[in-house]
């Protein structure tokens, strides 16, 4: 055979490529951070104090002979790392970043839970960012991603690094939405307005700047988007799965 058939990128890579493209149009920069994190960036800087029940919300992998090191339980540590870096360079807000990447939870796996998964974090900080901007940004993202009409709604929730904190549901309403999803509210992420303590941790003055942040599971988003029924396929390295994308 002269030409090898075209290879396939992983659906998560395709989703990250697409998300980056959509968010770039709204001014968001791609940012990243280490998977092996310090407890400071993963918890303390994000307003999750030691010995607080909120730390139980996330079952954490700790590292042997390395106290204070964890596998990051979310992509949120990059919020503080990014802002801190900008402040050090003397670059003041507005900041807008997305952080797609791996995160880890020390829990049993099943069809919808994996110990290793992908998240996409979003952060927008500026003098006049509002919760309404969060709604608008997410609506735009889902509209482009699912190529059709989308509604987004918020429900009250709690994450220590935001205040107020919300749970985000979305609903595809377009006629060409997949039948299984059409008209149904689906919980897609946690979000909220960046807690002043998080801005302080990064050296940003919370009396001058505000921001929104969100964190959404990319595996789950891929599952919704393509009707994938088992999250474990993502790390299966099985081409019967990957080569469909």
């Amino acid at each position: 055979m002269a030409d090898a058939p075209q290879g396939h990128i992983h659906p998560i890579s395709s989703l990250i490529r697409e998300a980056n493209r959509i968010f770039a149009k709204m001014g968001f920069t791609f940012a990243e951070g280490p998977l092996l994190e310090t407890e400071w960036y993963n918890f303390d800087a994000l307003n999750v104090p030691k010995d607080h029940p909120a730390r139980d919300m996330q079952d954490t992998f700790f590292i042997k002979d390395a106290p204070g090191q964890v596998l990051r339980t979310h992509t949120s540590p990059v919020q503080v790392r990014y802002m801190e870096e900008q402040m050090k360079k003397g670059v003041m807000p507005p900041y807008r970043i997305i952080v797609p990447g791996r995160a880890f939870r020390n829990e049993a796996t099943d069809m919808t839970h994996e110990a290793e998964f992908f998240q996409i974090e979003g952060l927008a900080v500026g003098p006049d960012v509002t919760l309404a901007h969060l709604k608008g940004t997410l609506e735009q993202f889902f509209k482009e991603l699912f190529k059709g009409a989308v509604e987004v709604r918020f429900r009250p929730s709690f994450f220590p690094f935001v205040e107020p904190g919300v749970e985000v549901d979305m609903r595809l309403t377009g006629a060409d939405a997949p039948e299984k999803l059409r008209g149904k509210w689906i919980e897609v992420m946690g979000a909220g307005m960046v807690h002043p303590n998080v801005l302080k941790s990064a050296g940003v003055d919370p009396s001058k700047y505000r921001g929104f942040a969100f964190g959404m599971g990319l595996d789950r988003l891929a599952m919704l988007r393509w009707g994938i029924d088992d999250i474990r396929l993502m790390h299966s390295a099985d081409l019967r799965f990957i080569n469909q994308f």
Partner: protein
């Protein structure tokens, strides 16, 4: 937390809506609901039937909402129903010194308040039906009237109580002496769950001060030395406040998490202790048949009032709304927050149990959730002053993806956990692969092995894989890019080696997946059969392929033309058929049968099977 609708109705004079309406109210204004369960008899008119809501109280509201009173208070604000019977508005005095009871707190930072009531002449008996029903609706076991009453108060007010059998305690000069102190070295306690706990001096206990023995693990569990039995007549009821971190650490160390400890570790207001005790006192005469001999309330540093201010302007700036001062005032009134307002600035006196409210943003959340987040419009962000910067690592990864897929490599993601490596994970639940990988090649080799048997099914001549991912090697985390094929050994190098020499101005325009829906694949093995035939002249291969597919039926999941050559006038066509079922493992015999049918049909059409 399990919340009984029937229980909630006791807080209101007005009728309460159906459980579904309550669930919606809470979902959109307070907490997620994990489910509604019907309990008791479903017969119409039978008041034993009840709906129990599983309310996911968020960690910031553990201070006040792990109770029916807390949930009732929320519903009162959300549904605008007055909370007619609030145990927190009761203020019967608790100031009768118990003549025969003293309490000593060794460290008031670990036990900020301790109220003890000395109650004489109780009759321990099975609980009445209403009390049993209330507790059983929550999945609790009824024990006796004394223990049930303390549990009722906890689920009612959020304040854990405990009852000790006074008759089992020693006295000094006719006085009982309760001490809250650190456990002694090697001190042990047989708790009410009949397990013996080895304590140490980081743990707080309730002790009989005269005999100097522990009778309870503070805020977690009572001990058998002072447990209530059928013979109990005099009791000491504890309504106390314990330090949240201390209770949490002790419960974790003893692996003993109880309804009491899970409340204390949230951090409770010491004011709750008084509400809980007053609530308990309502039961003494008619339920326990006893008489209050007196109280002791040790509360060295009473909780101070918190005031938090927020302006209407700030609320609107954060939420992106256009709420008026009147709308904000309405929210605070519904929540029973006392406030002073001047020029749009609300100075709020935070209810003592609402330990979660400390900054203006907390009040913004109260306003947002009570008016409802559906009032928040969707607005686009204003344009950024400059275009987003290109991330070099992501650019490089994308570029490598493009190059490799063009060469026929497919991308896999394998686990970062490995059998060996430099960095070990301390607490892996399943304890398999306890290291972080130090290379990609091991994972790639495994993936290759796994995919080779599926080559025919995939229609590939060769499996070629790549991965871009983090490895931990040489004391650092770095992103590596690795490849493997059936012909070439797995290899990898740092992704940064593929970085462009100059910073690119923008990302490359690369294709996205065109897949619309994922198709589940069969987990059963497949069978391959080839068939080659001389085709009559003028035959289109695709027509033959379709014909074979039709003859082979649904079990033939894939068919491809893999060879074609000309000899004189004749054309030889060779097809590969893959058979597989979603329900079972196919047998050679049944596939052979299908192939015979395919051959026969082809012959009939004038093909000569080779």
């Amino acid at each position: 937390m399990k919340v009984s609708r029937a229980w909630l109705t006791k807080f209101f004079d007005a009728p309460l809506p159906d459980a579904e309406v309550l669930a919606d109210a809470l979902t959109f204004h307070a907490f997620e609901i994990d489910g509604i369960e019907k309990v008791g008899s479903p017969r119409p008119g039978d008041d034993a039937s009840d709906d129990v809501l599983d309310v996911k109280v968020t960690p910031n509201r553990g201070h006040d909402c792990l109770s029916h009173r807390g949930i009732a208070k929320e519903l009162s604000a959300i549904l605008k129903l007055p909370l007619a019977h609030d145990p927190f508005s009761a203020n019967a005095p608790l100031d009768t010194e118990a003549p025969a009871l003293t309490v000593t707190l060794e460290d008031a930072s670990l036990s900020p308040r301790y109220i003890a009531a000395y109650i004489k002449g109780v009759k321990v008996a099975p609980s009445p039906a209403w009390l049993k029903r209330n507790l059983e609706a929550l999945g609790q076991r009824s024990i006796n009237n004394v223990v049930d009453a303390t549990n009722f108060v906890m689920f009612n007010t959020g304040q854990p109580l405990h009852a000790f059998d006074a008759g089992k305690l020693a006295q000094t000069d006719g006085t009982y002496h309760i001490v809250v102190r650190e456990a002694l070295p090697n001190e042990k306690l047989l708790a009410l769950d009949n397990k013996e706990y080895a304590l140490n001096n980081s743990m707080l206990v309730i002790a009989d001060g005269t005999a100097n023995v522990a009778i309870g693990i503070a805020g977690i569990k009572g001990g058998t030395p002072a447990g209530i039995t059928d013979a109990t007549t005099d009791i000491i009821v504890e309504s106390a406040n314990f330090n949240s971190v201390s209770v949490r650490k002790t419960a974790q160390a003893l692996k003993l998490r109880t309804d009491a400890s899970s409340r204390f570790e949230q951090g409770l207001s010491p004011e709750l202790a008084a509400y809980g005790m007053r609530n308990m006192m309502e039961f003494v005469a008619h339920l326990l048949g006893g008489e209050v001999a007196g109280f002791t309330d040790v509360y060295p540093a009473p909780q101070e009032r918190t005031r938090v201010a927020v302006s209407v302007e700030k609320i609107n700036q954060i939420l992106g709304t256009r709420l008026t001062g009147a709308e904000v005032a309405d929210v605070f009134q519904r929540l029973h927050f006392a406030y002073k307002e001047e020029g749009g600035l609300f100075d709020v006196e935070v209810p003592l149990e609402r330990l979660d409210i400390t900054i203006a943003e907390d009040l913004v959340e109260e306003v947002g959730r009570i008016v409802g987040y559906d009032k928040v419009p969707a607005e686009p962000l204003p344009p950024m002053p400059s275009a987003p910067a290109v991330n070099l690592n992501f650019y490089t990864a994308e570029h490598v993806r493009k190059q490799l897929t063009d060469m026929g490599y497919s991308e896999v993601l394998t686990s970062v956990f490995a059998d060996r490596g430099e960095v070990a994970v301390l607490n892996k639940v399943d304890s398999v692969k306890p290291y972080l990988r130090s290379n990609l090649v091991d994972g790639l080799n495994d993936a290759l092995k796994k995919n080779i048997p599926n080559k025919d099914l995939l229609g590939l001549k060769e499996i070629k894989l790549f991965e871009i991912g983090s490895i931990w090697k040489g004391g650092k985390e770095e992103v590596s890019a690795g490849i493997v094929t059936e012909k070439e050994k797995a290899q990898e190098e740092p992704l940064s080696m593929h970085a462009p020499k100059e910073m690119p101005a923008q990302y490359e325009d690369l294709p996205l997946s065109t897949a619309s829906r994922y198709q589940t694949f069969s987990k059963y093995p497949y069978i391959v059969r080839d068939i080659a035939a001389w085709a009559p002249s003028g035959t289109e291969p695709v027509e033959v392929l379709n014909f074979i597919q039709q003859e082979a039926g649904d079990l033939c999941v894939k068919i491809s033309l893999f060879d074609q050559f000309q000899k004189g006038e004749k054309t030889s066509l060779a097809f590969r058929l893959i058979f597989q079922s979603f329900e079972r493992t196919l047998t050679e015999a049944e596939v052979n049968q299908i192939m015979e049918k395919v051959s026969a049909s082809l012959k009939e059409k004038g093909f000569e099977i080779r």
